[in-house]
């Protein structure tokens, strides 16, 4: 066997991204098992991981983790390039952009809960736009908008609280670690 001349050396950062993405993918797959009454209304538990990575390691790593999760999660669930893949991709991109803005809000006042809810609204906003423009070209999709908005508030709050709790515990375990702003 010829030895490869190209050697890829993963950095510490790569390992960290892979570990977080793996946790997010597990949550995505676990969540797919939960039966839900309405298509599109999901707790989005994987976003807890995104929020934690955002707070501890910054926006760039959060983007990596979230997008890896969308791609690998859809491959595992057999939805890669299906409509639901594009819905979750558009939602993930929009919420990452929103997080990029929201993370600069004063940390004294706005914590992971705010980030989570704002990202959830960006998520449903982008999904509704994609659904309206491409999947269901009719204004009827907006009829469900209040339901999605309510889900964004409830699940955004819950995910944000869980992320805040985990961040507090991570901080307590490792006081010398990265800032958990």
């Amino acid at each position: 066997m010829t030895r490869s001349t190209i050697e890829l050396v993963p950095t510490v950062e790569d390992h960290r991204i892979a570990r977080h993405a793996a946790a997010a993918i597990v949550l995505t797959v676990a969540e797919a098992v939960i039966p839900l009454p309405l298509p599109g209304v999901k707790p989005g538990l994987a976003n807890i991981v995104t929020l934690i990575v955002l707070a501890r390691w910054g926006w760039r790593e959060a983007v990596w983790v979230a997008l890896l999760r969308v791609f690998a999660g859809s491959l595992l669930l057999g939805q890669f390039l299906a409509p639901s893949f594009f819905l979750s991709l558009s939602g993930a991109v929009a919420s990452l952009l929103m997080l990029g803005v929201a993370m600069h809000l004063p940390a004294r006042w706005f914590g992971p809960v705010s980030h989570s809810i704002l990202a959830a609204f960006a998520h449903i906003g982008a999904q509704l736009m994609v659904a309206r423009l491409w999947l269901v070209p009719h204004d009827g999709v907006f009829y469900l908008a209040p339901v999605f908005a309510a889900a964004a508030v409830v699940f955004g709050l819950v995910n944000g609280l869980v992320a805040a709790r985990l961040l507090a515990e991570l901080q307590a375990d490792d006081p010398g670690g990265p800032a958990t702003a």
Binding site: G111, V113, Y143, P146, V153, A168
Partner: protein
Amino acid sequence: MRARLAAWRRLLRPGDVLVVLAGMGVCVHAALLLWRGGAPDGAVVRAGGKVFAELDLSRRQIVEVPGPLGTTRIEVEPGRARVVADPGPRQYCVRQGWLSRAGAVAICAPNQVSLTLTGRGADYDALNY
């Protein structure tokens, strides 16, 4: 139980509470805006089969419509409309009273006048009583 709830509440920062409240506000606003089924947005008056007037339901007004028997008087108030007086013998359209849902119709057949409420998201094509 109480102590546990308090522990969770400590994770909320002041701005977070504002964001939650704003999110709930968006929900309520969206529901009121998008689930306003059946609310009329205008009225159409026809005489002799032709459109005589298209009325806006936002302000109070009285319209007099001429027909073969005489004049039918139609009154509009914000969000509703009715036939006040009609020269027809049986007065069915007058006795229908106020119309307030999209699709509702009052027909004064003898005088060939009709009043229809229009609106997006009407539950029915036509409503009659």
